[in-house]
């Protein structure tokens, strides 16, 4: 008789060279050999990210996520929504990152006890128990150098003795008894623009993905409201659980009791294509001639519709065709690099000066005798625009209720390129 054993049965952490460096089992032990199926799939996949997230094996299912070049492989035994597991695994990675600063094999190995304690709290019998960072931090204190020293001397521990009060209240995301001498609340409005620009420079698709990240360090139980000048812009929104949904629906005001510390208040989506102003243009001329072993490469960048703000941290990358042996290019500014093995061209442009547009010109040498590549390379662009949200979203005001002190408030805007591609 097959017993129901839902949810996550075991977790294996696999590094990029295919070694299992950590395992944790919640029910009975599942042999490591189950990962062989995973390794098989890994071998079949050309790229690390092409390993299917769900792999069926005769007795189990393997659901994995790849973050920071570590595969987190969960073993499950029966029907469970795959997204449930995937989302949870990502939450685990976020937590590790939150605790150790980085989520690398070394960091995990160094903190293996904390990792175990965390996993123990996050999952009970394979079912998520406490995943809220505020609660976890009350249960298990994040390791710091100072605490490590103190613990070693005094023999005291990282484990909290009290049940986090948040877990029982209606605001499970906030710990209680928060005290700060400087009460501050910072909000970052960060927008990423995803676009595909075609050969002729016209926009095929463009959308803006925005998030508001908050860093709130306020004493007590503050109740905040945040209102926008132009809330109608927000097309599709997802909230942190602390946001009162009805209030948003009715008044388009964000009303919430914030968690303590860093959190993502909301993410939103602006998709109306006409509204999206593309802040950069690319003039390109990349040609390969049939029969010749030389190719021409010309690229010029320029700002467009940036509302007077400068383009910064511009970085160009492009996967050149396999036939390209090497390049001989001259950047007018910044540095460029071409890796002849991976055929990856990257050009760190830096800031764009509208008076003197940056360009990269030169020739590519092709494999002799090889035929002309079918496809021109796609150009990926990264950039930043400070102090501006491309969609034009503006925060109107931030008010605090429920506490008597005056907090310090700050709002920052930024636009970044997301998946910004130019086809040539």
């Amino acid at each position: 008789m097959q017993l129901p054993a839902k949810m996550i049965h075991s977790l294996f952490l696999v590094n990029s060279s295919g070694d299992i460096f950590l395992e944790k089992h919640w029910k009975s032990v599942v042999s490591r050999s189950v990962c062989d199926y995973f390794f098989e799939a890994q071998e079949r996949a050309s790229e690390p990210e092409n390993v299917p997230p769900v792999i069926p094996t005769p007795h189990h299912y393997l659901i994995s996520v790849l973050r920071h070049r570590i595969y987190f492989v969960a073993v499950i035994q029966s029907e469970v929504p795959p997204l449930f597991v995937i989302e949870f695994l990502h939450r685990v990675v976020d937590t590790f990152q939150d605790y150790f600063g980085v989520c690398t094999e070394a960091a995990i190995k160094d903190n293996v006890v904390v990792v175990y304690e965390l996993l123990e709290e996050m999952l009970d019998n394979g079912f998520p128990l406490a995943t809220e960072s505020n609660i976890l931090k009350e249960l298990i204190k994040p390791p710091t150098i100072l605490r490590t020293v103190v613990n070693t001397i005094t023999g005291s521990t990282n484990v909290g003795e009290q049940l986090p009060t948040g877990q029982l209240s209606v605001v499970p995301w906030r710990r209680t008894g928060v005290k700060y001498t400087n009460n501050e609340a910072y909000f970052d409005v960060v927008e990423e623009i995803d676009a595909i620009i075609d050969k002729s420079g016209s926009t095929i698709t463009a959308e803006i993905q925005g998030v508001i990240d908050a860093c709130v360090k306020l004493t007590g139980m503050p109740d905040l409201t945040l209102s926008f000048m132009n809330p109608r812009l927000l097309d599709d929104v997802s909230f942190h659980p602390c946001v009162r949904f009805k209030r948003w629906e009715a008044e388009r005001i964000l009303s919430f009791i914030p968690p303590d510390g860093n959190f993502r208040l909301l993410s939103y989506h602006v998709s109306c294509q006409n509204l999206v102003a593309i802040p950069v243009y690319v003039k390109h001329n990349i040609t390969f001639r049939e029969g010749s072993s030389q190719g021409r490469f010309e690229l010029t960048l320029g700002p467009k519709q940036t509302m007077g703000k400068g383009l910064e941290a511009v970085l160009i990358s492009s996967q050149l065709p396999r036939g390209v042996l090497n390049t001989n290019l001259n950047p007018s500014q910044g540095t460029y690099n071409f890796d002849p093995v991976t055929k990856l061209l990257s050009w760190d442009v830096g800031k764009i000066n509208p008076q003197k547009l940056p360009s990269l010109k030169g020739s590519m040498s092709l494999q002799a005798g090889a035929s002309k590549p079918d496809e021109n390379p796609t150009i990926n662009i990264q950039f930043k625009i400070q102090q501006s949200a491309l969609s034009g979203l503006k925060v109107n005001r931030l008010d605090m209720y429920g506490e008597k002190y005056k907090p310090f408030k700050g709002i920052k805007y930024m636009t970044k390129a997301g998946k910004f591609q130019v086809r040539t």
Binding site: M1, L3, P4, D19, I20, E23, K27, S28, R32, S33, S46, E49, Q77, S78, V80, P81, P82, L83, I86, E87, F88, H90, V113, V115, Y116, E120, N125, T148, T152, G155, T157, N158, V159, E161, L163, L168, S169, V170, I196, T205, E207, Q209, G220, D223, S238, F239, H240, F245, K246, R247, E251, S267, H269, Q319, D374, E375, T378, G402, E403, Q421
Partner: protein, 1127 residues
């Protein structure tokens, strides 16, 4: 810093030592000599008194476990530290224990008593973690202890502990599925819980233990819908998935009518398949017709009106589309897809498109689901077409899925943009992706007639591509397309014929050959030439190509035998000696078929018809077609195969089941657990309103009420706090409820102190008498809780305000009891008819108090139990498991004549026994040769024609400890005669069967006698006082209480007595009350006391209590008596 470096050294050291082995043998973690040494010093560290050393040792052990090394030999050393004061050591010991207990069951038992003590700890965190660990220890022998612990935790006052109890249920179930019935009871109880904390966990338990018991959901359906938004995200997923299934069984298909209103072939099929998913075409059509006519009939009778509960579900899940958790969004999306009217499904598209921005694994799963949805509801995703455009940086598996979606979304209006997009994809470096694109183009071409020629031309152009894979894929797709209209495309066929010189990919070559063979009449000149070339290279071709060459030859022979006769024979001869038997067979077969000889029969006449029959064009279908018969978002859907434990999504019912089952009677709604009475009024308004929905609309009046009451409670609880001020400004009331619960916690502590005082004060009161004080409390809190319970659903607000106001002076007290009160209410509600006047109830409550003891005043279930319980706990578990009897000598056995109708069981049937039939019954007489044996009366009947000789028992196969006293051999049993004998069996107080052989002079029969638990005991006589005294000593773990509803026929004292004594061999204990029946007995083997009491209440409600030292016996006895009384 030196200390920290030491710390690091240790880590580094251990990993340094570990590393080499790790390299050698990463999987097994085998133990080498160095390991032994290390383990020795770990043992020393664990035995030391210093917590820091212990901690360090535990850390190293955990690191070993994490690396997959075996640390089981440290078990004895580790388990000793289970009671360590240091909480981190303790936690790590727990980690260790859960990991290794299954392997070291005996030693693991040593730790159990610690957890049992932990279960009674005043700190809820400790109670919860004790239960968590206890239930995670997979040792079968502690199942009864786990069961009891879960039962108690399920009525704990801390919702966190109750949540843990819900989590423990599936653990116990997977350990021992036999506990299912008991666990379902606990689930039922927890389902009624009103806290959001518990809701998700208990539904998870429900899904694992008894997903088929959909009836348990009815009463909680609306509550779950309303709580949903406040449940933690993981719970939301589980609840939504469960409610999707529930709704499919309880409501009507909202698209039923629309499908009939709209006409048009495509649409019809489209909706029809909504109803029935995987039936065959023919059947499908018929069924659809049938359904349609049926449905039309229904429509004509009454138009579809959505059940308000169905609407409630849709309304309350919609906001969750905005969750940050992808799993929640997906859960809501599938709910809408499966349950919402067509017009409303569209809302999910936006949210799903948003998820595509997430990690690539999330994208992968979402795209799979979008692909399925987009087949059925194409319109939904059309506005988001461009979000599925492919970037060169996407992983291939994502690209292919996006392509799938784009293909599904293609229609006449957008096909040109999609094709333009495809054109760029074809140039990609990623060849797998290019191949997928070519197939996608082929599918677009078959689906949309207008662009077929364009696509075909495009594909033909690809035939000159340099990449062979691209060409090959194009050939395969072109072949499929050409089959649709070959006449017009003979030039394409010609073009392809030329390609045979260049293309080497077998599949493509085979496709070309097939095409030429099939349409050889369109290219009469080229075809023989191709065959000629192929005949030359035949021996070097791949198998599939060879087969197609044979086919081509056969077809040409049939149409143009003049030119190709010799070629064909040459090819067939080559094939005859091929290495592959398929090819040899094919050649032989075809030769017989096409070359007319005298032997070849009638078939050769029809060879042309056989080979050149018109073949239907292949249908290019999405692999995602009809995948939605799996619930979307599920693993099974993703794999397109049923995963273990998958719950099939039921079809809509033809007619809606009774919606009134979801009506909740006022009494059954249990108020929230942690509340202050001073806030009742507010709660009353809020009770059903979740966190998010509590604002606008009534914000004015609510707000003022809130803030007032809040400050009041603030001062009352004495926590002069930051919170008290907060309410005045905030418009939202959730904050108060939040601060309320906080205060509650603070109060908890206070409460406990008070409780202690109260217990002290009340100790002298004899428990058998109803206590006036607590009775009053009940009355008060009963009144108090009424309006609260009323909530929004209340139909009968019978409560008058004056009453509740008058009791306000005692508010503080009643407030504390409200929690316990709810528990009690839960116990009693089932028995109380809702229409009963309140006064009567109070009386009844009073009577019940004697049963409930001091329950009210302590977080632990009952203080009067504490003393014996502690004794019990401190005594080692081993003695407990041996069932040491304290009462054996005190009580002398008395014979009580059983109530006549003894149940007989069949031991041997007449037919299997070849004429000898044997029956047995438990005579309930003491077995005189050995008082520790159960007397079994065996009756032999010889219905054969000949006499049976020398009947005796032989070769008894018994469980250890069991004994058997055979009956004296029966020498002769004449035909037609009957004879009875008595044998004794010592069952060792277990219901294990006694197996033995029954022998006659000719035959041996294997038989077994399995006693019902009620027969394992014998009656003893007791006075009422003795009974109470003994009962008082058998509390806690040894007491099992169950509520039940008596069957109509057995209401009344006499009937109860009779049924109980029939079920179990007990004697009645005199009792003053006619509402209570008591019975006593002791087990035959060990003489453990068995006490049963049945308290009857109005309307057939009753409470059954069994006290028995042997918990297993007690549990089973409860089951049996319960059955006897209710059936």
């Amino acid at each position: 810093m030196s200390a920290s470096s030491a710390f690091n050294d240790e880590k580094g050291g251990s990993s340094n030592v570990g590393e080499p082995e790790y390299g050698h043998d990463p999987a097994s973690g085998g133990i080498f000599s160095s390991d032994y040494k290390r383990h020795d010093d770990l043992k020393e560290m664990l035995d030391s008194n210093k917590d820091s050393l212990k901690l360090e040792a535990m850390k190293r052990i955990v690191a070993m476990i994490a690396r997959g090394k075996n640390a089981s030999d440290l078990f004895p050393a580790v388990v000793k530290n289970v009671a360590c004061k240091n909480i981190e050591v303790k936690k790590l010991v727990y980690v260790y224990l859960v990991r290794y207990a299954e392997e070291q069951q005996d030693l693991a038992l040593l730790s159990i008593s610690t957890f049992q003590r932990g279960l009674k700890d005043p700190n809820q965190l400790i109670r919860a973690s004790a239960l968590r660990v206890l239930s995670s220890i997979r040792v079968t022998i502690i199942v009864p202890i786990m069961m009891l612990a879960i039962k108690e935790a399920a009525s704990d006052m801390s919702p966190y502990v109750r949540k843990t109890a819900a989590h423990a249920i599936p653990k116990l179930y997977s350990l021992d599925p036999e506990q299912k019935d008991c666990l379902i009871e606990v689930i039922e109880k927890l389902l009624a819980d009103k806290t959001t904390l518990v809701a998700g966990s208990v539904v998870m338990a429900f899904e694992e233990v008894c997903p088929e018991r959909i009836d348990l959901i009815h009463k909680n359906y609306r509550k779950l819908c309303n709580l949903l938004i406040d449940v933690e995200e993981w719970g939301q997923v589980v609840i939504i998935n469960m409610l999707t299934r529930y709704a499919r069984t309880q409501f009507l298909n909202p698209n039923m009518n629309e499908s009939l209103l709209e006409e048009g072939g495509g649409e019809k099929a489209f909706y029809g398949s909504d109803n029935d998913d995987d039936t065959d075409d023919e059947e499908d059509k018929e069924e659809k017709e049938k359904k349609k006519t049926e449905a039309t009939a229904i429509v004509k009778r009454k138009p579809y009106v959505m059940d308000p509960d169905h609407r409630l579900l849709l309304r309350n899940t919609k906001p969750l589309l905005q969750s940050r958790n992808a799993a929640v969004v997906m859960a809501v999306a599938q709910l809408y897809f499966h349950l919402a009217p067509k017009a409303e499904v569209g809302v999910i598209a936006k949210a799903l498109v948003r998820l595509m921005r997430s990690h690539s694994e999330v994208q992968y799963v979402v795209l799979q689901n979008v692909a399925t949805m987009s087949i059925k509801r194409r319109g939904m995703f059309e506005p988001y077409l461009k979000s599925f455009y492919i970037r060169s940086t996407d992983p291939t598996q994502i690209k292919v899925l996006k392509l799938e979606v784009l293909t599904n979304l293609a229609n006449e209006t957008n096909i040109s943009t999609i094709l333009r997009e495809f054109q760029t994809y074809i140039k990609s470096n990623d060849k797998d992706f290019v191949a997928a694109t070519i197939q996608a183009i082929g599918r677009c071409a078959t689906n949309i007639g207008e662009v077929r020629d364009t696509c075909l031309n495009g594909l033909v152009q690809l035939l000159s591509n340099r990449d062979e894979l691209v060409v090959a894929e194009s050939v395969v797709v072109i072949k499929k397309l050409l089959q649709m209209q070959p006449e017009q495309h003979s030039d394409i066929i010609k073009h392809m014929a030329k390609l045979t010189d260049n293309i080497q990919v077998p599949m493509a070559r085979a496709s070309i050959l097939w095409l030429i063979g099939e349409y050889c009449e369109h290219v009469p000149k080229i075809a023989p030439d191709v065959l000629r070339k192929m005949a030359k290279t035949f021996t070097n071709e791949e198998d599939i190509v060879k087969l197609q060459i044979i086919n081509l030859a056969a077809k040409l022979y049939l149409t143009n035998s003049k030119q190709t006769k010799l070629l064909t024979q040459y090819v067939l001869n080559l094939a005859k000696y091929d290495q592959n038997y398929d090819i040899r067979d094919r050649a032989r077969f075809i030769r017989q078929l096409i070359v007319p000889t005298d032997k070849s029969g009638a078939l050769s006449k029809y060879a042309k018809k056989l080979f050149l029959a018109l073949k239907p064009a292949p249908v290019l279908e999405s692999p995602f077609k009809d995948r939605d018969h799996f619930q979307l978002g599920s693993l099974s859907h993703l794999l397109n195969a049923k995963a273990g434990g998958y719950q099939v999504l039921p079809d809509w019912p033809e007619a809606a089941p009774d919606p009134s089952v979801r009506n909740v009677e006022v009494k059954e709604s249990v108020p929230e657990w942690t509340k202050c009475s001073s806030r009742e009024k507010r709660k009353e308004k809020k009770a059903d309103k979740p966190f998010y929905s509590d604002s606008e609309g009534e914000s004015g009046p609510t707000e003022s009420a809130d803030s007032a009451s809040d400050t009041a409670s603030g001062s009352e609880s004495g926590s002069g706090s930051e919170e008290s001020g907060s309410g005045s400004e905030s418009e939202e009331s959730n904050e108060e409820s939040e601060s309320a619960s906080e205060e509650d916690e603070e109060e908890e502590g206070k409460k406990k102190k008070k409780n202690v005082e109260k217990i002290k004060a009340r100790k002298p009161v004899p428990e058998s008498e109803s206590e006036p004080s607590s009775g009053e409390d009940v009355k008060k809190s009963e009144k108090k809780s009424k309006p609260r319970i009323g909530s929004s659903e209340s139909e009968s607000e019978e409560d008058d305000d004056s009453e509740s106001e008058s009791s306000e002076s005692e508010e503080e007290e009643s407030e504390e009891e409200s929690e316990e009160e709810t528990k009690k209410k839960k116990k009693t509600t089932a028995s109380k008819p809702p229409s009963k006047p309140p006064k009567k109830e109070n009386k009844k409550e009073k009577k019940e108090m004697s049963l409930l003891d001091f329950d009210d005043f302590d977080p632990a279930p009952s203080p009067s139990q504490v003393t014996p319980l502690n004794n019990f706990l401190s005594s080692s578990l081993v003695t407990d498991l041996e069932g040491l009897s304290l009462t054996d000598n005190v009580l002398s056995p008395t014979t009580i004549i059983p109530s006549g109708n003894l149940k007989t069981y069949e031991l041997l049937h007449r037919i299997t026994g070849e004429g000898l039939s044997v029956e047995y019954c438990f005579s309930r007489q003491p077995f005189s040769p050995d008082p520790h044996m159960v007397a079994v009366k065996i009756q032999f009947t010889n219905s054969a024609t000949s006499e049976a000789k020398s009947l005796h028992v032989e070769d008894a196969k018994l469980q250890s400890g069991m004994r058997i006293k055979e009956f004296p051999e029966i020498e002769v049993l004449p035909a037609g005669e009957t004879i009875s004998v008595v044998m004794g069996i010592d069952f060792c107080d277990s219901t294990q069967a006694a197996n033995f052989q029954l022998c006659t002079h000719t035959r041996k029969f294997f038989v077994s006698i399995q006693p019902p638990v009620g027969e394992l005991m014998m009656p003893i006589f007791m006075t009422e006082n003795e009974f109470k005294k003994e009962q008082g000593q058998l509390m806690g773990m040894n007491e099992i209480t169950e509520k039940l509803t008596l069957e109509e026929k057995c209401q009344g004292e006499h009937a109860v007595v009779q049924r109980v004594t029939t079920a179990a061999n007990l004697s009645r204990v005199p009792c003053g009350s006619d509402k209570e029946c008591r019975f006593a007995g002791k087990t035959v083997t060990s003489g453990s006391l068995v006490l049963v009491s049945v308290v009857t209440k109005e309307d057939g409600a009753a409470q059954l209590t069994v006290n028995c030292e042997k918990m297993v016996i007690g549990t089973m006895l409860v089951k049996d008596i319960h059955q006897a009384l209710t059936q």
